[in-house]
Amino acid sequence: MSPARTIWLRRLAVAAVALFVGSALLLPQWNPLLSRLTESPTNLAWLSNGWSELQTARMHVTVYASERDEWPSDLAEAGVQPLGEIFELSLQPNDLVATVRATPRLDRVLHGHRVILHWDPQSQLWSCRAGDPPIPERYLPVNCHSEASLVGNTTRWLAIVLVLSLLVLLALAVLLIWRHPLIAPIQREPARLRRLPLALLPRVDTALGWLQRREATLAAAGVAAADWQEALGYARLNPSARARLLALRVAARCADSSGWNLPGAVYEWTFSAEMPVSLERCLVWLPPASVDGAQLVRHLRQAQTGLDVLLVFVPDAAAEAPLRVLCADRANLCVCLGPETQTAWLLEREALPVLLRAMARQLRLTRISPYQTRGGIARASSFFGRESLLARVVLREPSNYLLIGGRQLGKTSLMKAIERRLREHPQLACVYVVLRDHRLLPRLAAQSGLPLDSDLETIVAELRRQHGGKRLLLLIDEADPFFRADAARDYAEIAAMRALSEEGRCHFLLAGFWDLYAAAALDYQSPLRNFGEVIKVGGLEPEACRELASVPLAVLNLRFADPTLIERVVAQSGRRANLIAILCQECLESLEQGAAAIQAGDVERALASQAVLDALAGWGRLSHDEAASRLDRVIVYRVAAQGWTSLADLVALLRPRTSPDVESLRRSLARLQLAYVLDRSGERFVFAVPLFARQFEAAEIPVLLEEELRRLG
């Protein structure tokens, strides 16, 4: 509807209401609602004639009855004309009945209505009462009104006055609620309460209290009463308490930060591990309210905040504009949080999204990327999928496991997820250890505070003591060097570990790659073969891939422009979690300032980025055996050259130069599959990650293959 029409409609409505109320008060007979309840002057005038007719008839009947001492048998006998101008009269014993005639002079509603005059022979006095149907009491003469009706009439008028007063008050209240500049918007849209400037909250609270609307409004706005009280008290807090209150709401630890040449107070916040973006700490500045915005900007320009993000909690709306201009420049690391944002911070059920939205608007997205592209995922919010693998460890009785997969495939992330899931287990304690060389026992001893030469049994006993006597699940990452060294010592430590696990005191989850796999799966003589269940880590589940691509973006209010782009990312990455994260990170890098959606061009640039090539490199030496690694490279170059290979194809390729060892070829193919370089498709092997082929220049592949073949020969 057009605004002009709305204005006219509003004016018409106001005029109608004014007419209605005005007529009700001043001319009720013209009021459509009250007209039936008030006397019509015309009716009153004609009825007064009727009362005269009745008076004459009554006089004749009184004379007749007093002279003859009997009630006349009919009106003619008493000398009364039965048909008057207004009434038609009739007689009943001691009653004179007057019926309103159907005359156009009177309202139709009065036609046929009656009034009865009663003659008391003893006192020879007349009394009056309403007939059947009765003439409305408001038209009757006062002597015809009953006593009760006289009282009721007064009460009724008082009630009307009261009701009208109440209606007026109600109208005023409605007007207050719907037109009050503070309250009205909140009542129309309660969520606005969370976006009001902080300084207005006490006034709003008073108004809501006066209107008895506080609880209902808070409930409609989704604001907890405790949060509301905290926000009301915020203004009275000193800066330190304010900073701590704000920090608490985003699960950050707050510490004083000194040495700043800034007016007001500066604090350092350290965020928890659950922070969904790559921001571990930041600086917080609470400037005083007495300094104006331009001065604050000057101070800010002068301050050396280093490489930390600086959150500026603006004291009032007047200071906000200049600071916002400065912070809008994404090149700096300042984030302006105005009075409205501070209210949201204090009143939203989750304050972290408020902070993230503000940072996403004012910082480079890459500074607060929600993707972790390298290393084990420590944040639960960044870990997606692997539910079936997790269930195999977490939902079963403790046992030994060998977690096997190539680098950057997610072994460490899975171990950390297991550790998180079992953190509150009543009978099982997880201990995560990263080996840095072959020395397992000294590493465990150092971690448990024992002498470095302690044996496994002592270490396990100490670790159990430290964990309240619970059974242990030792998560041992980077176990390949340990396993190689232990193999050279006839698996002495593996045997000790097996003995402990058979007793149920401690179980082990060893994570590694080829050495572990070859012993556990390919070597029938190895004691590792029955040591534990082998869990291979490969690509992520398709749905988890989609979540990994889209959910972190939503944290920053971003998205892929088209769902098919997510599918392209997932397909090209071969469902490798780190590649998906890297691709999304690269999309963020190329996202234009202010853009809210990742477009196809961004995805294509990401697919061709150096970061992706960097993540794909590093497959050239998967084994410590140089000959095996060379064979791996031959196979990879062969697949790069023709798109696939097979055992028969490789044998045919190698035969002219050397006598191919089929077992070595099979091991190489197994190794490359485990490293997620190759994937098996029937009898053929292809690249597991379609992007992998982008590493190779068509012209260089024959040269590289030839060089490796020459060296192999």
Partner: protein, 423 residues
């Protein structure tokens, strides 16, 4: 046996008045540096592949290193754990050009913006702020080390900045290695890898944020390097976000990352390659060696075109400009083609006939193919790390190109000389 032919109008030619003066006594300097770490002549000789007599002759001032043995003197400097500045002093005293002509210890270094961006990137690498800074030949590892450390101290505080310089010697045992590291970090009583780890962990466990610059990460004994990498990786994992690591190195460090999957520290590290100097950096470098009046747009344009971002060539070109010369401008490229450092870059790559043939073919091409973080072709990779080729933006992304015409000329001359010698 191939030997260097007389190079045409090289900046080293005495008649061109561009040769470096021998400012310090080589024998005295070498003796001082050897005494400092109690290195024996035989130890030095073993490390650098020379005879003990040759080293003794140097120490006693009976001879200077032959010009074809410059790289051995560079190895010697590494073994003696010399800083970039000390290495250049030693080379200069023997009559060689400095190895690190650009990126010394100047306080007003030209890469200030890049260094700031480097630290900004490090901050973003949560929860594992680990950055590998790779530099091609003739850049320090890292370049502008003091500037990096100064910036780090400004950002993290003096006490939170550690500088680790792994000992070069492959004969050092674990005790010596970690004692040296402990001393560099100011940790008392460190005599083993576990003690070093415990000392560093105490700092992190106290809630402190520690920045650690590791220069020349790749040098030293492999298993000790792996132990150090393991310690740093483990502590990064346990104290997520607290330990900020900047690992510096060159070709060998890149090989460790991309060719050896065992060092998971490097697997989770992000890679940054030291960039070529842009106009601002060239201007700042030129301003350090030339009067302000000479530093104009024309000079910068020539430096950019003729040196192609090669630090040693820039240094030589600036020296050439620093003295009055009658040469015509077009001669600069030809002059730079005779640079010993270019020749030293090419010679080790040409031992095999096939390699010579491939490089000859490449020398005729403008582009050598698509650049990648890790070049799969070994020969191309070596050319890159020798700082003879570089990655530049092209229509299809980053492309590998010869650094400049002087490099191509030098390549052609070296191959021609090799053919002549073979014939």
């Amino acid at each position: 046996m191939f030997d260097f032919p007389p190079s045409p109008r090289s900046v080293r030619d005495p008649e061109d008045r561009l040769d470096l003066p021998v400012s310090e006594d080589f024998a005295g300097l070498l003796t001082t540096f050897m005494r400092r770490i109690r290195a024996s002549a035989s130890g030095v000789a073993t490390e650098i592949g020379m005879s003990r007599e040759a080293v003794n002759n140097w120490r006693h001032g009976l001879s200077l290193p032959n010009r074809k043995h410059r790289h051995r003197l560079v190895d010697c400097a590494r073994y003696l754990r010399l800083s970039e500045q000390e290495t250049d002093r030693l080379l200069k005293s023997a009559g060689f050009e400095p190895e690190y002509p650009v990126g010394g210890q100047a306080p007003d270094q030209p890469y200030a913006d890049y260094v700031a961006r480097l630290f900004e990137r490090l901050q973003r690498l949560a929860p594992y702020p680990i950055l590998m800074l790779l530099s091609q030949a003739h850049w320090g590892q890292p370049p502008f080390r003091e500037s990096l450390l100064a910036t780090a101290r400004q950002l993290y505080g003096d006490a939170a900045v550690l500088h680790i310089r792994p000992p070069y010697s492959v004969e050092a045992d674990a005790r010596d290695y970690f004692t040296a590291l402990g001393a560099q970090c100011g940790f008392a009583g460190v005599d083993s890898d576990f003690a070093f780890e415990a000392a560093l962990e105490r700092r992190l466990a106290a809630g402190e944020r520690v920045f650690c610059l590791v220069s020349r990460f790749e040098q030293g004994e492999a298993h000790l390097r792996e132990a150090l990498a393991g310690i740093l990786r483990g502590l990064s994992e346990m104290y997520s976000g607290k330990l900020h690591l900047l690992l510096c190195g060159g070709e060998a460090l890149a090989e460790l990352k991309y060719q050896s999957g065992d060092l998971s520290l490097l697997n989770i590290a992000s890679v940054e390659t030291w960039p070529d100097p842009g106009p601002a950096e060239l201007r700042a470098l030129a301003a350090r060696q030339l009067p302000a009046a000479q530093v104009d747009a024309a000079l910068l344009s020539r430096l950019e075109r003729d040196c192609g971002g090669h630090p040693a060539l820039i240094d030589e070109a600036l020296r050439w400009h620093a003295v009055p010369s009658t040469w015509d401008q077009p001669d600069l490229s030809e002059c730079l083609a005779g640079s010993a450092r270019l020749w030293e870059g090419f010679v080790p790559l040409l031992a095999e006939a096939e390699a010579r043939a491939r490089i000859s073919a490449w020398l005729t091409q403008a582009s050598l193919g698509r650049a990648q973080p890790y070049l799969i072709d070994r020969l191309l990779r070596r050319l890159f790390w020798a700082n003879l080729v570089t990655a530049r933006p092209g229509a299809d992304g980053l492309q590998l190109e010869w650094r400049c015409e002087a490099v191509r000329r030098a390549g052609r001359q070296v191959i021609a000389a090799w053919s002549d010698a073979g014939a």
